[in-house]
Amino acid sequence: MIEMFEYDFMWRALIAALLVGLAAPAVGTFIVQRRLALLGDGIGHVALTGVALGFLTGTAPVLTAVLVAVLGAVAIELVRARGRTTGDVALALLFYGGIAGGVLLIGLAPGGSNSTLTSYLFGSISSVTSQDVWVIAVLAAFVLGVVVIFGRELFVLCQDEEVAKVNGLPVRFLSLLIAVTAALTVVIAMRVVGLLLVSALMVVPVATSQQVTRGFVTTMLLAMVLGVVATVGGLTSAFYASVAPGAAIVLLALLGFVLALGVGKFVRRGRTQECSR
């Protein structure tokens, strides 16, 4: 067990995993409640274009990914708010555009090829630099700060947008805020689990948690605990079993979900479940 602490890269990886495990499910709880579970996937695909843009222009891919992911998230939100195209079609359009843009741009970059993108698609937590850790830490602090400061308002927004409006909340600002926060979370998690699996960390711990909880806040807190268990546990087992960390993290999270399904059934048994039509 001690062995992995002897490597500096594992320390960096563990810190990154811990931060991602905390931040992704916190935002995820609002995203799931808002019926935007696939938003993370959409942003993830768009971020790939940002990564390729970084290679093409010789800028740090994390920075260009942040920029493009935020723009993509704002675009998704604007399309959603207009309400003309349904949310899932808008997301689908971004999926295609993001991947195609990424592959096209990386081909234009000097020395770039699709394999350059692989580490971003599937994560490469062991290659996280100390600069990456700082960027992740700052972004995670921002994400958690948004949840703490605006959580009360975001709860109302995600519950019922019209009620939020009649409560005088800045609905447009809050909608953009949650979209941008989701975009930043995607970029944070990109190095840990990869763009294709980012959304799993935003959605799966929440889905697991809500099997056994009764309230919104407890769902979020338990999801954050589960997120950390998945990221740190997945990373540790990947180190000793020599498997891909991103995949190990997501599979561990999914395992938790399957277990919670069983526990949830047990918890719910004996409860009088009244269902309104």
Binding site: Q33, Q159, G168, T213, F216, R277
Partner: protein
Amino acid sequence: MTRSAQATGVAPQQSPGAAPVAFAMAAGHVSLDGRPVLRGIDLRIEAGEVVAVLGANGSGKSTLIRALLGLTPLSSGSAELYGVPPGRFRDWWRIGYVPQRLSVGGGVPATVREVVGSGRVARQRRLRRTSAADVAAVARALDAVGLTGRAGDPVGWLSGGQQQRVLIARALAGEPDTFVMDEPTAGVDAESQRHLAATLATLVEQGKTVLLVAHELGPMAPLITRSVVLRDGRVLHDGAPPGGPGHHPDGAVHDGVPDAAGCHPHPGHEQARPHAYDVAGGPMSPGATQ
């Protein structure tokens, strides 16, 4: 937005005979998907009135209150909330809005207390912890609708009628002086109907302004001071409530209103936002008592 809790109990009291106008609409037109839903509504509701908006499905009654709140834009005409167009209205803490039903969203559970507590949001400042006044207001609201014992349960476990009471408690928790309720009695069981009527009676006693949309008034009928009957997006009747207190113990609203007022649903006039509960029209059938 730093009002003390006490400031809210004060119903708008001005010199007699000059109650402020809570809601106003002049020549209000609304079209949804190119179809006219409201066609020239003129309406003034003064503070302290208890107004029921009645009418059949598709008569535009829900659209009317949504337009008054600024949730649905007017295609022409004007609307005002306490003298200000909804888009520039700032005193939202004054308004307690009760939507037609609890939105389940993506299925993340929320307890009854959390949902009711969220009604305080217009009175809370960012970064402020929940205050003793918040806790007390939520407790009073839960008590008023008889759900104190269910406060820790997820709202998803409650029946439709109980969920409706949660929505009303959420509005009560904000301690507004004006309540806007969209079909609070639709699909609600008898026990919840009684709770609603009792809560409404308390609000009326406190001099609050109430604007509610109803398909049937049931036990609330004696509390209504004025009814506005819509038909095909126009005001058909505006004045004394149908029946009136004590007249019609069964509380059926079609009494006293011409049958053409549209108390019976017109199947071809379903609104763009269909009311899931109303389509059968059962409660409005003569003799229905709830």
